[in-house]
Symmetry: C2
Subunit: 321 residues, 2 copies
């Protein structure tokens, strides 16, 4: 099974289902709730739900498909609320919900998707006990996502964040939803407690690796390739793992905390960080998380789905944008 | 069983449990989430959950107590988000969450309670099937609460709201959470589908009556008694049932849409509305909802809990503040 083909298939199925459920509903609040949800996206979390389900029992993914949608709704609700908090105007190539409508409607649009996520879990074809465990897993993830976002915002006014706080933040902000996706897919498919725990840990470690790579790419990727302004975190003095390790190694990046950095200055900073061993350490920490994630899958027999989950973890740190 | 004594007992139990679960937790987000939750309140929704449970099977209320807390958390999360949207600075006698902290923290504090509400449903002692149905009921209520708040905000820029739109708005903004409270308490206690449906309808009709009375009190109550500025809805030209019926009867209230109304002018408006039959019609609509609500309880055998639920409905329209 080719991962790219599989992900495209899932994205198509998710797009179709979301469009059927949430497209064309009357009323401004329904339109606002659907706006970002129907703006595309890689739909990675639904794919993880389905891969985990089929890995536990082949054929179960289709039966628990509503739970795959639930994870995408949860992700989208957090994006809508985060965009309000962060004052962001564009997301997935479209204006953010609160800029098209207004902040109150943005808050409510997120709250509506939040509710539907829990409803969708309950409509999966699965044992009631598995649904109850999945609702608890999703609720725990939502509470931790909020903590992650709150930590991330609090880091903006600090310059003393350490590596462990950073890992906790990205674990909550990115890891827990991949963890929930994998655990919920498997739980609804009828897995054991140990299997759910392993998949949860797979998601956490994979998500942490993803976020470390995200910050790494922000620094080293070409602007054209990433589609963002180059090195935006460096310019804003953001407390990324790169910045934290640089500080701990006595490398002073304060001179680069300027909006008007030239390409030459960015290259200079990268060279400084490479020379000081910061970038190698960042890559090493990401690799360690990748290995930990993949080791969690060892309790499952080899199959196409397990292979795809392994590839997703690898992709999280091999992607260049 | 005396209703007032019963409500005081439940409020004490709820206060104690919430303080134990959410009081004194570290971190600003936890403090923000607990702020309004621990600021008191009548705890009517938890009482409804428990009365419905004990009415279905005596002794079940204590076992499903976490669900009673879940309804209070849901109510509180909506208040925190509504206060941001409405720009309100004080609630339950304390500064609102977003004024003590800031709007991002207010959004997240609400989102955290939202998650915990669903977790709490899952920790009740009940059949898994009943928990799944209760999660669905709560999720539906949350989505409708959002719609109700959105309708309420949209009414602010309209002057052509009709009676049915008003009833739909208050049904969603106030009714659905009482409906969910009653249906969830009974469902977790093991009731039939018909019983759950009847209690849901009891809650809807009671909640609608509550909100009609709330608007009525705003107009006719003494300022001292209500603790609010007298006739604030009249001064703001709010689309209450009173204003809607007045317009439909050709009574012009536009001259009273002023911040500086005197007591004499308010009395004049009240006399005009009484004379035109508006106030009697409002009272009659509220009474009809009360009768409908109470009739829904007829399928249950007489017991103390049923009597208390009847009294709650009566209290909703007999209260003077």
């Amino acid at each position: 099974m080719d991962l790219v083909t599989y992900l495209e298939k899932v994205a198509d199925e998710v797009d179709t289902a979301l469009d059927r459920e949430f497209g064309g509903l009357p009323g401004e609040l329904n339109k606002a709730s659907a706006h970002l949800l129907l703006a595309g996206g890689k739909r990675l979390r639904p794919a993880v739900v389905m891969l985990a389900a089929d890995m536990v029992k082949k054929g179960r993914a289709n039966e628990i498909f509503p739970a795959a949608l639930a994870l995408e709704l949860t992700h989208t609700f957090t994006l809508i609320h985060d965009d309000i908090m962060d004052g962001d105007a564009v997301r997935r190539g479209v204006p953010t919900v609160h800029t098209v409508w207004n902040e109150p409607t943005g808050i409510l649009a997120g709250d509506v998707l939040y509710a539907h996520a829990f409803k969708l879990i309950c409509t999966a074809i699965a044992d009631d006990a598995a649904k109850v465990r999945s609702v608890t897993t999703l609720a725990n993830a939502c509470a931790e996502l909020c903590e992650g976002q709150h930590m991330d915002m609090s880091f903006e006014v600090r310059d003393d964040v350490d590596e462990w706080e950073y890992i906790e933040m990205v674990s909550k902000k990115t890891g827990v939803l991949y963890a929930a996706a994998a655990a919920i897919g498997a739980t609804l498919a009828g897995c054991s407690a140990q299997q759910a725990q392993s998949l949860h840990e797979w998601g956490l470690s994979s998500g942490i690796a993803f976020q470390i790579q995200d910050d790494y790419i922000d620094l080293v990727a070409d602007a054209e390739k990433s589609g963002k302004d180059r090195a935006s975190d460096l310019r804003q003095g953001k407390q990324t793992l790169v910045a934290i390790l640089a500080r701990e190694k006595g490398i002073d990046l304060s001179g680069y905390r300027r909006a008007d950095l030239t390409n030459a200055e960015i290259d200079e900073a990268i060279a400084l960080l490479e020379e000081g061993g910061v970038l190698e350490e960042v890559r090493s920490i990401a690799r360690t998380r990748v290995e930990r994630a993949k080791s969690m899958l060892s309790i499952f027999p080899d199959c196409d789905e397990k292979d795809c989950l392994m590839q997703i973890t690898d992709y999280f740190v091999s992607r260049g944008f």
